[in-house]
Every structure is written in C-alpha cells, then in structure tokens.
Symmetry: C2
Amino acid sequence: MDEATVPSADLARAVEARLAASHDDIVERLKSFVAIPSVSTDPAYRDDVARAAGFVAERLRSIGLADAAVRPTEGHPVVTASWRGAPGKPTVLVYGHYDVQPPDPLDKWISSPFEASIRDGRLYARGASDDKGPMLIPIEVAAAFLAETGRLPVNLVFLFEGEEEVSSAHLEPFVAANREALKADFALSADGAQWRADLPSVTVGSRGICALEVTVTGAAKDLHSGRHGGAVANPIQVLARLLAGLHDDRGAVAVPGFYDDAEPVTEAELAAIAAIPFDERAYLDSIGAPEGAGESGYTLLQRNWVRPTLEFNGIVGGYTGAGKKTVIPSQASAKITCRLVPGQDPRRIPQLVAEDLRRRAPRGVTVDVRVEHGGAASYAIPADHPGLVLSEDVLESVLGRRPVRVRMGATIPIGEVFRRVLGIDTVFFSFATVDEDYHAPNEFFRLSSLESGLKAWTRYLARLGERP
Amino acid sequence: MDEATVPSADLARAVEARLAASHDDIVERLKSFVAIPSVSTDPAYRDDVARAAGFVAERLRSIGLADAAVRPTEGHPVVTASWRGAPGKPTVLVYGHYDVQPPDPLDKWISSPFEASIRDGRLYARGASDDKGPMLIPIEVAAAFLAETGRLPVNLVFLFEGEEEVSSAHLEPFVAANREALKADFALSADGAQWRADLPSVTVGSRGICALEVTVTGAAKDLHSGRHGGAVANPIQVLARLLAGLHDDRGAVAVPGFYDDAEPVTEAELAAIAAIPFDERAYLDSIGAPEGAGESGYTLLQRNWVRPTLEFNGIVGGYTGAGKKTVIPSQASAKITCRLVPGQDPRRIPQLVAEDLRRRAPRGVTVDVRVEHGGAASYAIPADHPGLVLSEDVLESVLGRRPVRVRMGATIPIGEVFRRVLGIDTVFFSFATVDEDYHAPNEFFRLSSLESGLKAWTRYLARLGERP
C-alpha cells in the first residue's frame, strides 16, 4: 500500500507512536533550544539570537529539509525551510518565533531562566512556552512523518522569525520579498496560546500593537534637590502629570482621536463573549490581582479582547537604588504600548499619543517622544475558514471537548501581515497556555501540552492530507 | 613672647605659611580620603563607611588629638576628638561629615568617582566637595597650629558624622547622650557650601527635610500587557496619577494641610532676597535648564529658599532596559522628599503626604507608603550672632569682598539639632561651592577653595582666640 493511500487515522497513529517513543529526545532538544538566550529586544543578546536561528535551521536540515536556511533581514534573521513533495495537496505556511522576552527581573526566577528545570510536569525556562516549545512541535511532527513514511501528507513551508517580541519589525519586508517562496493556502501558527488550561479554545482574533517612549528632560544634569528644589522643573513630576493625562477618570484613553477609527463592537460579538464560561474571581486569583480594573462600561473580557488600551510598560527616573538620594533627575522616561482593535492604524495611533504628550509639555522641560517602528494592526479570521474548522475538529479529538472560540488581548502581527501581503488567513494552533508566565519570571511549558501538541499537529496534517 | 600673646595676624600668617608649604601633602590626604567609597545610603558600602571613619580618627590622632575616637551609633559611626587646652577662651564645636552620596549614574563620570582626578585646578571625586574636602580643612588647620605653636588659639571639639546624606538619623541621640563632652559656645560647620563661586556668602538658614517612598502593587507578578491589558490595574498608571495629584495646576503642593504650619515669610525676608544680585539666566545656564519652574507667585530664589517643596527623587517600575517589553508590572514605586520651612514638622508632613496618597488609592491595587525616619526641621541663625559676624569679617579679609547673607534650599540637620539639644547656634563656614556637582556625576572641589578655606579657618580661629 502506497504511503499516500494509508488512511489518515492509521498514518497519524503510527506517527504519534513514533513521537511518543522520542519523547525524551524531544524534551532534550527543547532544553538545548531554551538554553540559548535569544532576547530580541536587547542588543546585548544579538549573537545569541543568531545562534538560536542557527539551531533551528540545523534541526530543520537534520530532519531532511535540505533548503533550510538562516535568512538575514535588517533586524534578526528569519529561518525558512520547505517540503513541496505533495503536488495537488494543500500547502501550509507554518509560523513560529525563536526569539524570547528579556528574563528580568532575574531575582524572581526560582531556577535560572536559560537552564531548563523540570518540576511537576512543567519545563521552566524563558521561551519554553513563548514560543520555543510550541514552535518545536511542528518541526518534530514533520521529522516523525519523514522518518515514518519518507514524506509529508501536505506541503509545508516553515517560517520562523526572531523578532516577534519586538513587533516583527522586519518580517513584513521579508515576506513581501519572498512572496513566491512562501506561497501557501493558509498559515498555521505555532504561536498564539490556548486561552485557558482547562478549556480548549481556538483564537479567532488578536489586538494590534504600537509602541512609543517618552522622555522628559529638565536640567542638563542631576541636581541636588535641596539646592535647586523649587527653582526648576522636576522631570519625574512633569512625566507623572503627562502620563496621568493619558487616561480620563473613567479609565478610558484621553488622547484626542484615539477611538475615532476603532470599529464599534457588534452586539453579536458582545453576546459571544458573554456566552463564554469565565470565572472572573478565579482569573484574578490566578494572577494575584485584588480586583479587575480598567475602562468603565465594559466587562473584564470585553476590555481585554475588544477594547483598545494604552499601557505603561516601564518608567524610570532619578535614584532607584536602596535608601534615598536627594536628587532632581535630569531625565525621566516611560515606555508605552497601545493594544489596537480593528480599524485603528498602528502608525496613526502612536502619532496621536505623541502629539498629545508634546502639546501638554509644560515650560521648563523638553519632551521627546520616540515612536517605535513595526507596530501591527488587529487581525480576525473569517468564521467559516476550513483550516479553522479543522483545528476545532482536531482539538476536540485530542482534548475530548469542542474548543470555544476566543479572541486574544495580545498581538500576533503575522495574522494581519500574511493576509495583507500574501492574501492568506492564519489559523492559530498553539499549545502554549495563557497561564504559563511568558513575559514574566518563571515561564514554563507543560509537558502534557507538548504531548497534546505533537498529537494534534500530527492529526491536523494527516487529515489535511486527505483533502485535494 | 608666649604663643598666647602673639598677635593673631602674625600667628595666622605663620600658620598659613606652614599650610601653604604642606599643600601637596594635604591634597594627597584628600585623595586618600575620597578613595574610600563611604556611601551611607547603600548597605553595600557599610564597611567602606566604617573605613572612612577610621581614616578620620587616625588623622586626628596623628595631629596630636589623643582622644580621637570612632564612636558607634545605631547607624554609621561618629568620629570625635577634642582639644581643651585654652581655658577662658571660646570653645567651638567643629562639624563635618565623612559620608558621601551614591556615585550613580556611573556612566556619566569622566573619571572614576573614587579615584581623584585633578583637572583645571579641580579635584574630581565623589565627596570631594561634599564634604570631604571642606571637613579636611579644619583638621589641617588644627594640625598646622599644633605643629607651629604646640597649641590651638581656642578650644575645639571635632564632631564628624557618617549619616549626613541620610538625614543624620542617629546624630541627635548621639549628641543628646554626649551633651557634656560636646559642650561649646557655638558650632562651626565645615559643611554648607558657598552659594556662588563668584560672590562670597554666608548661609543664615536652611530648609528642613523629610522623606518617604510610595509603592503601588497590582497583580502578584508581572503580566503580559496584551494578554491582560485592560483587565487589571497598571501600577505605573496608578502611581503616575497619585504623584500628579500631589501638586496643583499652579505648581503648589496639593496635599491637604501641607502649608498649615509654615510660618509666613516676612516682607523683610522677601526684601532681603530681592536685594541679592542674582542673574537668573546665568544660574539656569549653569545647570543647563531651559527655564525656571515651580510654584507660581514666587521668584526663583524665593521658591528655592523660603518656600517648601515636594520633590520626586526617583521612580521605577516595569521594564527599563533597551527596547521594549510588553509587560504590566506588578509594582511601581517612587521616592519623595519634601524641603521644609520654619514651622513645618518633619514628622507630621510625611504623614500628611502618606495619608493623601493612601486616601486616593484606587481599587485594584494596594498602595504602601513608607515614611523614613530621621527628617530634619528648618534652621536659621540669629542675625547678630558674633560667630556669624566674625565669619563675615574673615571672609572679607580672605576673599576681598564682604559676603552676602543667603539662605539655603538644602538641609543641614545639625543647625536645628545643635540648637535644640545643645542650646547653641551654628555658623556655616564651608568652602564647597554650590556648582560643584555634589549629588551628581563629576563632583569636584576647587583647589583654590581648599587654599581659601585653609586661610579662612586659620584666621577665624586666630581671631576668635583674641577673645576672652
């Protein structure tokens, strides 16, 4: 019997068995992968990011994808590989990212962020959940198919970027310049995350993002706060006032024009969100928050999924060490990101915020606003997309329960980029879970999710291979 | 001729000549002194602070003060020494401090902060101007008198503390416990600083100080700003709003009760300030500030000298490294100090600020305010104090111009402590200059000020010795 005619369930079973037998090897590879501190936001880690790209390309070559390559961009490199040996079958663009968030605050990690530690069925390391564990899954699944049958059930193009944590700034030009090579029927993303550990879900939309940084400068140097206090402006005081003015008393963003282009949320969307089982208290307990907060007039999930936000990600100025230092700092600065909803332009919004900050700058200081390149618009997949429906079927078969459709407060820029540049939609098929503390100390990835993910990707590709 | 009958001018000339001949040795001793990083605010430097105390005591012993000793307190030690061989002559309590401010931001120092570098007649090092250079002067002058004549013109008690930069928290109990040993007619402070490099001045009053730190805590851990943004409070947003509310639109402190006990500034005081030659633009240029700012309705000098302030000395929260990190931090905090005027209680004021912050704390966060111990009240010397008038006469003889009387925006807690606990006033006789970047990178001390200071202290003690 030719491999191509093996029923997909039998094929999947054989590949799943092979993957189960390789479990320890796969975990070891994940450990090696997370040991590379590929922090994309900090130039100090540039070589490590490159090293992680090399690790991915080498693994893709070793499983039999001869064209695997580290492809330079103006930022961190992209890794690509392809297998197109199934003419007439669908072609899927597999997406993931090998870069990670910074590990700080380091003192809050129980084990070293770049040395995997397995405790209670969880692999702890920076990047384990976002996105090294999840992106390793389709590679390992492809490896198992190739080892088992010498071929894949569908055509695959792998695209792994190294700038997801910095808004995928150079992904779009790369995709645009490689349209033909990346040609596919749809994208299947290993990044995205399950909404809850106890409730299977598929993500059908994500918010966009834009980022800026504001710096207030007073005197040219730090001043003694007694000698000079009262004489000149205090940049922290000015910054606090500027930031406080970005929200109104109801918690809404006060920047003129901020909401102008945001598409209104439909009644149907609001009803769908209301229908999702959600224990607000349990959620708040899970993150240790005393209560919910934010824009009034919306539920917690509505605020998080379908309302735009303006968040402060960092602030610093003056003396921040132990004890006190009686100084008026020369500068104080804050990092800001906005999460965007459909209609909001990631290039226009930060300009509106910047204009508002500059307009309100008082005398005695200079206010510099630096808008970051590489924002991303919001994205939503059509409700009847066949790749989406297949993902729901497969998740139900693996997890025993039909997944709910959820939105995501976070941003995956690729959805919007792939649609605009390649004309294809993106199905999010990630096995990270939202409680895994990515972007925080003690990030972890459940080994049970690794197993579910390997099964699910196997069945997904096998069943997709049945289609013409 | 007995030494005691040598005319003071001749005696001073001989001692000045001896000091001039020792110039290089004195500079070397200052270099050794500033090489000890006696940063009192940071526990990491505890041993260095103790080492600096030992250095001072050893020097005092070596010049012939056998009772020189490092005296423990509940904080950093005090160094004392005395010479009481001139019965019937005045007794002066000489004050200075051997602790220094933290050196950061380290990257802004041109030469290493704890390795003296002499450039253009200035000795650059942390503590060179505040207060190691100035406090070395009376020691060197006493050394020269003792070497020249075997005695001093007046009785001296030396008191050098190690906590001036942390509000002299343990000085008052030490002074109270050593009232008899410290008994003197008045105090002469080597700390205090000349107001301007080009205009001799004597300081007749200083503002008080109190300190507190506010910490806003939201969730128990840092959160992904996409995943959770909009759902829960952002501690930086809350902190900015709390801090912004501490001043009103006119730049005045908005804390209820803040001004209630502040004694009104008299017309005479305002007129005296107006009579002082002051080039506001030159001052602003000297610190690189675009313009003055602060409480409206007052001139720059009035705001700085006789109006209380609430200053932010440091703020930190979230990600502050290079690039961006999409995080909602668990915490954000700010350091605050207030400068106080006569009437304001350094214990009551921070409680008022703390109450205001706590009262305005919104839902979804906890607001912790820690009030620092060891504040200090404002101080002013009586206008006709003989020690003050002598300081003016001596400065005129050394610098060729009658000094103006100025106030100080900064705090020297000893003025108020010595008056309250010992019943004596304090004459500020420092040769630091306000532009010497203490509390900032590249602190320096003018070698010309070292020479002027050595002459002035010599003449001051010689002339005071003429008095019964």
